[in-house]
């Protein structure tokens, strides 16, 4: 279920109020609020975080599309889609654990596969540093992440990190994020797990 609010041209606090009303009328799923200035963008993100929701932002031609995922409090499970929980994973490497990189790659695959089987699914996977490789075209685990994204999990990759590895053009799943949103996501999570 999705819901779009066009709050372009509205002064503060109207975008926040419109988003608040839409979330109150929604039993679960996603609200996308569109705003045309950074003040409104930051305020809507603050509101989402304060309301226990996940938020991710995409910029298109100077307009901000803020995707707000309503948390499970009061949310009903949407048919054909597993409910996402409030756990956020911060994935800092493209392999899991220290020691053998080869073993680490196998373990990361097993981890994401197992994650797909869990209930409720995590709310968000945040990829930073070499972790962003997992969300690009060259990722051996792209299919797993696409499945997770299809089931409502936010897949967010650090823009600075993608730039560093020159992979921004090759991001294949989820959205680009910034440190502001990463900190907001971690702060709003009921449980944040770093890998």
């Amino acid at each position: 279920m999705s819901n779009e609010i066009d709050a372009r041209g509205l002064a503060c606090p109207q975008p926040v109020i419109a988003t608040k009303k839409a979330l109150e009328n929604l039993t679960g799923g996603v609200v996308t609020t569109i705003v045309d200035n950074t003040a409104a963008k930051e305020n809507v993100i603050k509101f989402a975080v304060a309301s226990g929701c996940g938020a991710s932002v995409e910029e298109k031609q100077g307009h901000y599309y803020i995707k707000i995922t309503k948390g499970p409090a009061g949310a009903k499970q949407v048919e054909g889609q597993a409910a996402t929980g409030q756990t956020v994973y911060l994935i800092t490497k493209d392999t899991l654990g220290h020691g053998s990189e080869e073993l680490g790659a196998v373990l990361m695959k097993a981890f994401l596969y197992t994650l797909l089987e869990t209930e409720p699914l995590p709310r968000t996977l945040l990829f930073i540093n070499s972790g962003v490789r997992l969300a690009t075209e060259e990722s051996p685990l792209l299919g797993h992440l696409q499945t997770l994204a299809g089931r409502g999990v936010n897949i967010l990759s650090c823009g600075t990190c993608l730039d560093y590895f020159a992979l921004k053009e090759r991001l294949a799943v989820g959205e680009v994020t910034n440190m502001y949103s990463i900190v907001a996501e971690l702060g709003a999570a009921a449980k944040a797990i770093t890998l």
Binding site: A11, P13, N37, T38, A39, N43, V44, I45, K46, A50
Partner: protein, 317 residues
């Protein structure tokens, strides 16, 4: 404004160069004239209260220079044909009450037809030329005292969203309070610099003071006086666009990671009729704070230090 020619008249003691609160013009060796003007659109629904707030805000610039208000002129924009004239009357009554409370008189004014009401005053005050509080003489070792709680911008935004009524009411009361008691109490001390906190927020006005004085400042975020519910309103995204504009403009500010986001927002929050900020030697600051509290300036707090010479750097910890 930079394109405008500067006055070289030696009688102009404080002009536009240092972004101070009001202009000061020397009349004689013992008397100087303080002049200021400010007006804005309604920040509260009640017209009488709006008049009080606009007047308290305009008078504050005279207090921030250390002066005594003498006369005031009303500046009014009002939809004369479409709005009840009693609303205008209430605005003017509110303004007059505050001007009277300040010991000054309204000597006239001017009204124009406009779609949206606006009100404010041009205030003239007097000061001894040797006793002017500019924002340009803060010294290393000074403590900083703020005399009103922060958050009027955030709570004005909350008012437009019909949220946090208790905080909105507290903000209105604070905005309508004159800075007279704070200024008169501080006049007995060696205040090195003073400014009032308005549209550029706490950090914006501190920045002006720090640049004009050639110093750098440190602010203790844990002790900042905050209006009730201001933190809650900021946390849920009721932050005025002006706060973000202030933040984006102020490039010399550094803030510790441990300072919560809502407190950062309140440091940048544009204030209407905010408090005075005094910079004075530490030995006197403690005593002034105690005297302010005794005089019912109960939100006054020691909020920071002048840590050394600099170019307007501010660190918030």
């Amino acid at each position: 404004m930079r394109q405008l020619p500067r006055s070289t008249d030696p009688r102009l003691l404080v002009g536009i160069d240092t972004a101070d609160d009001a202009g000061v013009y020397k009349l004689s060796d013992t008397t100087a004239l303080i002049q200021t003007v400010d007006f804005f659109t309604p920040v509260v629904d009640d017209p009488y209260l709006f008049g009080q707030i606009a007047a308290a805000n305009s008078l504050s610039d005279v207090y921030a220079m250390g002066g005594k208000p003498l006369t005031a002129l009303n500046i009014v924009a009002f939809p004369i044909c479409s709005l009840d004239p009693n609303i205008l009357l209430a605005i003017l009554q509110g303004g007059q009450e505050k001007v009277t409370e300040a010991g000054a008189v309204i000597v006239g004014g001017h009204t124009i037809e406009d779609a949206e009401p606006k009100y404010g005053l041009s205030v003239t005050g007097l000061i001894h030329p040797d006793k002017i509080w500019t924002n340009a003489a803060a010294r290393t070792g000074d403590r900083l005292i703020l005399t009103k709680a922060l958050g009027t911008g955030v709570l004005a935004t909350a008012a437009r969203a019909d949220l946090f009524p208790a905080g909105v009411a507290a903000a209105a009361k604070s905005m309508a309070t004159l800075n007279r008691t704070a200024a008169e109490t501080a006049s007995k001390y060696h205040v090195n610099a003073c400014t009032d906190i308005t549209g550029f927020g706490l950090l914006g006005h501190l920045y002006e003071l720090a640049v004009a004085s050639g110093v750098r400042l440190e602010i203790d975020s844990a002790v900042l006086p905050l209006l009730p519910e201001a933190q809650e309103a900021a946390t849920m995204g009721l932050v005025p666009a002006g706060a973000y504009a202030n933040r984006d403009y102020l490039t010399t500010v550094t803030i510790d990671n441990s300072v919560p986001e809502c407190i950062r927002d309140l440091c940048y929050d544009p204030q209407t009729s905010g408090g005075l900020l005094f910079s004075l030697p530490e030995s006197e600051a403690i005593q002034l704070l105690a005297e302010l509290k005794q005089a019912n300036v109960d939100q006054a707090a020691l909020v920071g230090w002048v840590v050394g010479s600099g170019r307007g750097e501010i660190h918030v910890k």
